[in-house]
Subunit: 206 residues, 2 copies
């Protein structure tokens, strides 16, 4: 019996998110990493991306490096500006999801209300909140950028965990405790979640 002609680039009408997901072989999704400074958000985001890329996934990371000096360079650290910072990152993450990509964001994003607003922006299932969790003492000991030291001395005011609150997620899809884990172990937890929840195949029935 002859096989039917197949063309993975076939699309009905204009290109839609579902077309991109089919071609990419996975869903478009936002992995929203939240946690204290030094909890390992960026390190984990990079290693998750490395592994997803090796599996052929289309991925991108939004972090301080490409956002604070670009899109959000007009924003400071007032309460209003912090809210607007997260709002814009949320809106951009939505565009990447619509483009069929796995986009990871690596920002402290300490306030529950701000994160919940981003969740509400996204379609059901397209927002995965990942609490990258480490004890404050561990984070302060790691202190990769010397920020805790400056926060303790008062040089940096309103520093999350020291002089400003961190509101831990109450309904995170995933909690990754990094205090006593290797990067490899934490990465495996994220990948395992994505597999189990069906994000690494293009459709729910695949």
């Amino acid at each position: 019996m002859e096989q039917k002609a197949t063309n993975i680039y076939w699309h009905e009408g204009d290109v839609k998110k579902s077309d991109r997901e089919r071609v990419n072989g996975h869903k478009g999704v936002c992995l929203w990493f939240t946690g204290l400074s030094g909890s390992g958000k960026s390190t984990l985001a990079v290693e998750v991306q490395n592994q997803l890329f090796e599996r052929g996934a289309r991925t991108y990371i939004l972090d301080g490096d490409n956002i604070r000096h670009g899109l959000n360079k007009d924003l400071g650290f007032t309460p209003d500006d912090r809210v607007e910072n997260i709002r814009r990152i949320g809106e951009v993450s939505k565009l990447f999801v619509d483009a069929g990509m796995i986009v990871t964001t690596a920002f402290i994003s300490p306030y529950r209300a701000d994160r919940d607003k981003v969740r509400d922006l996204h379609e059901e299932g397209a927002f995965v909140e990942v609490h990258v969790s480490a004890d404050l003492e561990v984070c302060e000991e790691r202190d990769p950028k010397g920020l805790y030291k400056k926060a303790r001395s008062g040089e940096i005011p309103n520093f999350t965990g020291i002089s400003a609150p961190y509101e831990a997620p109450e309904k995170a899809e995933l909690v990754v405790v990094t205090s006593n884990a290797t990067v490899e172990e934490s990465t495996a937890e994220v990948i395992a979640y994505l597999e189990k929840a069906g994000y690494l195949s293009a459709s729910n029935d695949a």
Copy 2:
């Protein structure tokens, strides 16, 4: 002779733009469409995307629908807000280029200075200014959203081409004249440019 093992997902260190471009089989680039309302920017962007998708390219379109009601919903139409509108779109287009995608923007973007700032944001060669050009009379006759009618009656103030200037590009990489062309013809012009300029292969020596 045995063939060497190849793995297109191999990457040295963390995933970079060049890794994504290699896997995607084309360069990351911003196609910045500029032109009067009714010149055909959105129609052309959609058809270019359809054809690029069919060739396996990773593409996305930024337009009024996904930007004005999302990222830029806090902006109005004051001079400052118009500048900020284009700045943010430029910054987001840069993120998509870094993600290895062909991102097309479809905004009137009437001011040369604003477009030149976006050009300066991008790496050399990653910004392709496309003047989607049609005579004002043609655009006004098309008037797909009835905006020219409202502009003529004074209902919409500061309307580009009627009561506000349109500064045509002086150094656009491509001018597509749509006044007497079919969408297919205009689309072919854009695709031919991308091919000729080497954007549709992953590296210059490919």
